[in-house]
Amino acid sequence: MQSDADLDSAFAALADPVRRAIIARLSRGPATVNELAEPFEISKQAVSKHIQVLEHAGLVTRTRDAQRRPVHLDPGRLEALTAWIDRYRLIHEQQFRALDALLAEQSQPKEDPS
């Protein structure tokens, strides 16, 4: 399990539309800074800064591939984030499905036992 500080930095990193777009692009495969900068009307330098934030949050990594240094998504890190939200949901989903079943059973006509 990850620490609160890890969660904070990851959620903060994703609280920006450009960085989310970069994550979305990387989910289709690794890319260089130049490739990542293309769709945005901001400087390559600004895109590099965004990538640094994502890297610092552990969401992406950069391989030591000489000049190219492509950026990769770390899917395990993203899964850990969605798990943080989804586990809480899972318990409540299960609980309300049990309530569904109970209510469905009760809607069958029968005599009140009391």
């Binding site: 609160d4 586990r87 809480y88 318990i91 609980q95 009760q106």
Partner: protein, 156 residues
């Protein structure tokens, strides 16, 4: 045909809200919250036995129950029913005995959506943002434990 559960836990707030619709009249939905024999059958995580000490779903009433986990763990909860209005509304306090004095106030709205349909809306407000986040995180731990149990069953 499972109805969607909407959960919101806005960052920096001490509350969690949820909304869920049911294919049942609002009276039946309310009764499933009032009758302890029915409550026992749906409240709490899957596979946990729920033992109810007392449960009196009326204004000024109270409750205490214990969830028994399959691994032998026990999780006790107690609180008071502040206001209960038949088929309509309830306010209760909620305290996990493993985190004493971290009392949440829970609002429940039972809404009639016409024949055979109803909606449950809930809002749970904790004493601090930190306690709310801890509650979400403990839900995560339980969920993960259950996930591992299912995995064990699959691998057995």
């Amino acid at each position: 045909m499972t109805n969607a559960l909407v959960i919101t836990a806005p960052e920096g707030t001490p509350w969690i809200e949820f909304t869920r619709e049911f294919d049942a009249p609002v009276g039946a939905l309310f009764n499933a919250h009032r009758d302890p024999d029915l409550v026992r059958r749906w409240l709490g995580p899957n596979g946990y036995e729920m033992a109810i000490d007392h449960y009196d779903f009326v204004s000024g009433g109270g409750y205490r129950y214990v969830h028994h986990a399959p691994d032998g763990g026990e999780y006790a909860f107690h609180g008071m029913f502040h206001t209960v209005r038949e088929g309509e509304f309830a306010i209760q306090t909620f305290e996990f005995e493993g985190a004493p004095d971290q009392v949440a106030i829970e609002y429940l709205w039972f809404e009639d959506l016409g024949p055979g349909r109803s909606r449950l809306r809930g809002k749970s407000i904790g004493p601090s943002v930190e306690s709310r986040d801890a509650m979400v995180a403990s839900g995560m731990e339980k969920g993960m434990r259950e996930g591992y149990e299912r995995l064990e069953a699959l691998c057995a």
